[in-house]
Amino acid sequence: MTTSSTNDPVGTPSAPADCLQTPLDAWHRQAGAKMVPFAGYSMPIQYEGIVAEHQACRTKAALFDVSHMGRLRFDGDHAAEFLDHVLTRRVTDMAPGQVRYGMVCNADGGILDDVLVSFLQTPSERRFHLLVVNASNREKILKWFEPHLADFPTVTMSDRTELTAMIAIQGPKAVEICKRLFTIDPSRLKNYSALVTDQFSKPVIVSRTGYTGEDGLELIVRAEEAPRIWENVLLAGREVGFVPAGLGARDTLRMEAGMPLYGHELDETIDPITAGLKFGCNLKDRHFIGEEALRMIAEQGPTRRRIGLLPQGKRPAREGCPVLNADGETIGQVTSGGPSPTLGVPIAMAIVDAKHAEDVTFQIDIRGKTVEALPTKLPFYKRPAVAK
């Protein structure tokens, strides 16, 4: 056998020397993480095992080093207007503390990146916007913004990625445990809200966001503080089973949660409506790059659509497997697929011809063998509602 991979981000077994390192790199290696190159960084793919880390996140909490994600800060008058111009989501009406999911599109509506934009206010009442972008798209987005920024001379953009670290604490026990560590009560943060606070005697951005389908927090901290904060959180959560988790579990978690991943469900040939992300576009009474194209796609309907599939049997369908209709005609392909540790069956997301998106049966060609696949609503997994 060979241990080749068909599904990013699992890649070659060791990271080449020219990869960037996150501020937690030494910690990962000391903990015995399997490191892989990902988006220019050397990143932990797993520590003890993907399934164990996945289950810890679903039942307790897991810590993810997501310092490779790009963090771009926008200051100055009209920063909101600038972001409003380049994002599919309205930014100008955001109140301090709000976080929104949106996309950066090209003029044709193709997705250059999917992002979180936060409007933040420091304790000294300085306000700024922060954009968290995909690691693989950071350089592209910086280049894309530059000419558009020229029209907004009062706005400054600074890349904070390497000065800071980002830690995601995800799982049903994440917020409760973090209460013990924080001077603020993070349970008072609503979903998709964030604040700048002095935690651990240093400035920290705390947001109630994540990419696992679980409740949780994401922290942006100064790079040099990251190992101390990471260890503090792990220590505080040790008795309830907090574990460090790698990109492998992050991928299976987001897949179960039906969340798209750039380079898989999203790219420059896919628009937000095709990807099922219309909620991430404010088309009414706005003008932004790509808006005309998206308005037309929204009116006419996309030619392709993202769907969820349950391949029958035990064999997982992987990215790139052709999706066929009941007559055996190729109508699209799997964009992400694998076993669901929570559901115990294979799951897959696919982009298919829109005219077949409502079909009741599909087939997937898994490396030469065809299996039946049933359509299902996304997400595959939704966390149970918590009684208030």
Partner: protein
């Protein structure tokens, strides 16, 4: 009797081979090593060949999948598949405990000598330590 890993031969691609005489035939039992199982981690699926299939040395005969990766399985020998371990795909967890006994995958009636390229235990261990 438990199979002793130190007496087996190994392919570069992590399959092990155990050859026994059976009524004048040479029967090779083939599996994947404990090192390979540990590297793959979280196994979810294994695809086995049909009994009766003729295999060439290095020919792909199936695949094993972990949560993230698909890995083809290559035949380290030439011959006819005479038996497959049909209980294995439903019990892949057991491979973690028992890659060399319960973990056998198929038996092949040899049609040619074992290839020279198969390693002994010491050479295979050296390969694993360099990879790991």
């Amino acid at each position: 009797m438990a199979r002793d890993p130190s007496t087996l031969r190994y392919a570069e691609t992590h399959e092990w081979v155990d050859v026994q005489e059976d009524g004048g035939d040479k029967i090779a039992t083939i599996g994947i090593s404990a090192f390979a199982v540990e590297q793959l981690n979280d196994l979810v699926y294994m695809d086995l060949p049909e009994v009766g299939r003729q295999l060439e040395i290095g020919e792909e005969f199936g695949e094993v999948e972990s949560v993230k990766a698909v890995s083809p399985l290559y035949s380290p020998v030439a011959g006819e598949v005479v038996e497959v371990h049909s209980d294995l795909p439903d019990n892949l967890d057991n491979l973690n405990e028992d890659a060399f006994d319960f973990g056998w995958i198929l038996k092949v009636k040899l049609s040619a000598d074992l290839p020279e390229s198969l390693m002994d235990y010491a050479a295979y261990q050296k390969q694993c330590s360099e990879a790991g």
